[in-house]
């Protein structure tokens, strides 16, 4: 394996409290040294990282690859390549593929394809219930053995709170993390936008915040009862953040993430009937956005994820409520995180921790840091480099983003996964 020397970069590694100019040395696919005098190191490849930030590769907790099952929307190859170009070197794949991730065979298929693609490291999330149907437990132990990093029921509802209790008990027996995107389906009632002024004006089916915060409250109660490790995915409103903050204070083992676009857009930003703004959970109010930003700054929300959901053109071509929800968002993850820093919502180090150290710790994997001896997953980006979101720059098969055509600042120049250069601009 090649020896690599990254020099002159501004190194930020929140896990090791590093925030300074220096060099990173890589050998045998692992971090060899950071900012030390290394004698006898003859690099095969030298990367000059002047004017750039060098940090751990991003760990993204929710990336739909659409593969297996919906390869017309995206493939493991196309989307892990897009991930690499976005600095994401590790990603979690939710179980709502087709077939569902609830057998060893599906996990092996995904692992094979991901290895062949050899871009980002893919961790499948196993189904919490058999076929995600919400009533019978999946074979969680077998799924864990086959390589699942956590379990979740994706966006499918559970039959009852009793099933949830049993599933949490069983998952925690095997020390499996349960991931959950909070939604009480009877209250969200097939809505497509936030229940607020926008929905009222345009007569669109809508979702109150309580649909989310009630679900948060139920899961917190049962996590406390069962001792299960719980992670909330894609929190969208203030009420949820308050409940999670209280639970953390109380000492519950719970973490939370937010989708990057929720930290920037609100119901006021939706262009009427423009389906690229159709996403679940929906864009909430300015107050919610502000609260989510504060929660990220004070640690209530630990992690930023992309919640990447690429779509084909037809999925977004229709009257707004009939289109499929979701945003193709891997490639806007870094520039929009940097925009939070520019807005003084968080520090750069906090932003990078939310993309690296924190998700890695939630998953319990030895990634997301530049610690010597660990796999060399590295992202190098130029924070000042502007680019336009268009056909020429975009890698994902899904072009469904409300940021299409906009100029964004901050671009990944190199991505390394276990010491291999998987992307260079």
């Amino acid at each position: 394996m090649k020896k690599i020397h990254i020099s002159n970069g501004h190194i930020i590694d929140p896990a090791n409290n590093i925030d300074q100019q220096g060099s990173v040395y890589i050998a045998d696919g692992k971090i060899f040294a950071v900012n030390e005098q290394v004698s006898d190191f003859t690099a095969d490849i030298s990367i000059d990282a002047s004017n750039s930030i060098v940090c751990p590769g991003f760990v993204d907790l929710s990336v739909r690859l659409r593969d297996p099952g919906q390869s017309y929307k995206g493939t493991i190859l196309s989307e892990t390549m897009a991930a690499a170009s976005a600095g994401v070197t590790t990603l979690c794949l939710p179980p709502d593929t087709s077939p569902v991730i609830d057998t060893q065979a599906v996990i092996e298929l995904i692992a094979d394809k991901a290895e062949k693609a050899s871009y980002a490291q893919v961790y499948p999330i196993g189904a919490l219930t058999h076929k995600l149907a919400g009533s019978e437990l999946s074979s969680m132990f077998a799924l864990k053995e086959a390589g699942c990093i956590a379990v979740s029921n994706a966006t499918a509802p559970l039959a009852s709170l009793l099933v949830l209790r049993r599933a949490m008990e069983y998952a925690s027996s095997h020390n499996l993390l349960v991931m959950y995107q909070p939604d009480e389906a009877s209250l969200s009632n097939q809505g497509c936008v936030h229940e607020g002024a926008f929905a009222t004006r345009y007569g669109l089916p809508c979702i109150p915040e309580a649909a989310e915060s009630i679900a948060v409250a139920q899961y917190l109660e049962l996590a406390d009862l069962t001792g299960c490790r719980l992670h909330f995915s894609q929190i969208s409103c203030r009420r949820s953040a308050i409940k999670i903050q209280q639970a953390k204070k109380y000492g519950l083992k719970v973490t939370a993430d937010v989708a990057i676009h929720q930290l920037h857009l609100t119901e006021d930003d939706i262009e009427p009937f423009n389906s690229s703004f159709h996403v679940l959970p929906p864009f909430r109010t300015k107050k919610d956005k502000q609260s989510l930003r504060e929660s990220l700054a004070n640690g209530t929300i630990d992690i930023i994820c992309s919640d990447h959901q690429p779509h084909d053109i037809d999925a977004k071509l229709g009257a707004f409520p009939e289109t499929e929800p979701g945003i193709s968002s891997l490639e806007t993850l870094l520039p929009l995180t940097l925009r939070l820093v520019q807005d003084n919502a968080i520090t750069l180090s906090q932003g990078i921790a939310a993309l690296t150290q924190n998700p890695a710790e939630t998953l319990g994997i030895q990634r997301g840091t530049l610690t010597s001896g660990l796999p060399a997953d590295i992202c190098i980006f130029d924070p000042a480099l502007s680019w336009i979101v268009n056909q020429d720059t975009w890698k994902s098969a899904g072009h469904n983003t409300p940021f299409w055509g906009q100029t964004l600042k901050g671009r990944v120049t190199h991505a390394l996964q276990s010491g291999e250069i998987i992307y260079a601009l």
Binding site: G203, L204, P272, G318, P321, E322
Partner: protein, 320 residues
């Protein structure tokens, strides 16, 4: 999106929603409708304004009154009219909305009049139709029903002349009503002094005040001193989805009775977009009484729709 309705010269190209239209545009529609309204009393009820134009009335939802007034309006403008009830046609075979539109476009039509159960369907069709085609929204989901709102404005203007001093109350299922949304926008654009909505909380949308209305949960308070009362039809399915207990209780709380009518101004007019549920939202004697203008509304629907069809198609002809 506001530009979507207007052509480069700022003239009406599509008619999808009241939102984004100026007071001047709305007034132009009302004035044009006025010139058509005397026509229906003449022996020859036709003008050749749209001769040679093909109008497709495309209804994905059932309706009698709206559809027939559109047909009559188009016929009186001398256009060729094709009515399609799609609920029983192609889409039930899995053809997409866009495919239906593309197929009709290939037959060189000039205008679509569309009713659809999904909010935003009209906008979607206007965005994707060929540039020479005008689209008129005849009701989309719970979003808008702008031609109904304009015929209501026309009726109000006939009786009350100026909107500036008017207090208008809309009573009923505001939450699910595309008619109410368009009426509120039109009344506010035309400078109405006060617009009120009266309903139980289950039938009011969240943040309803953001539409520029005062909300009342009591009909007695809401009706006090109003000049115009607009009743909305109560759909039966509201009872099965736990929004209301019974029709009887609704009538008890929100039905327009003679006693309650007396709370409004003595010359107040009573309107209803139809069809009426007698004894559910309104007492029969009021619906048929001297203050009711419900049948005038229906008649005015033809003139207003003639105005909107001719204005949109003419702006398109001028642009070409």
């Amino acid at each position: 999106m506001t530009n979507l309705q207007l052509n480069k010269e700022g003239k009406l190209k599509h008619f999808l929603s009241i939102e984004g239209l100026s007071k001047e545009s709305l007034t132009e529609i009302l004035d044009t409708a006025e010139s058509f309204s005397s026509m229906s009393e003449q022996r020859v009820k036709k003008v050749p304004l749209l001769r040679g134009k093909t109008i497709v009335i495309l209804f994905f939802e059932n309706s009698t009154r709206t559809r027939t007034t559109f047909e009559l309006a188009a016929t009186r403008l001398s256009a060729d009219v094709l009515t399609m009830n799609i609920s029983t046609s192609a889409t039930s075979k899995g053809e997409s909305l866009l495919d239906t539109i593309r197929n009709l476009e290939a037959m060189h039509v000039d205008m679509f009049v569309v009713r659809h159960a999904i909010s935003g369907a009209g906008h979607f069709i206007a965005q994707n139709a060929a540039p020479h085609i005008s689209v008129i929204n005849a009701g989309d989901g719970q979003h808008a029903h702008p031609t109904q709102a304009m015929l209501d404005m026309f009726t109000i203007r006939q009786y009350k002349h100026d909107f500036k001093e008017l207090k208008v109350a809309i009573i009923g299922d505001i939450l699910h009503s595309r008619v109410a949304r368009s009426q509120i926008q039109a009344l506010n654009t035309l400078g109405t002094k006060e617009v009120r909505v009266i309903a139980p909380k289950t039938l009011l949308p969240a943040h309803v005040e953001s539409l520029g209305v005062k909300a009342f949960n009591s009909i007695e308070e809401g009706l006090a001193g109003v000049d115009v009362i607009i009743m909305l039809r109560l759909q039966k399915e509201r009872m099965t989805s736990a929004l209301l207990p019974t029709e009887r209780e609704y009538f008890k709380c929100f039905g327009l009775t003679e006693k309650r009518l007396k709370l409004a101004k003595s010359n107040a007019i009573v309107m209803h977009p139809g069809p009426i549920n007698r004894g559910v939202e309104i007492e029969s004697c009021i619906a048929d009484g001297p203050q009711s203008v419900i049948l005038q509304q229906v008649g005015n629907g033809i003139a207003v729709r003639m105005a909107i069809m001719s204005l949109t198609l003419q702006s398109n002809i001028e642009a070409l």
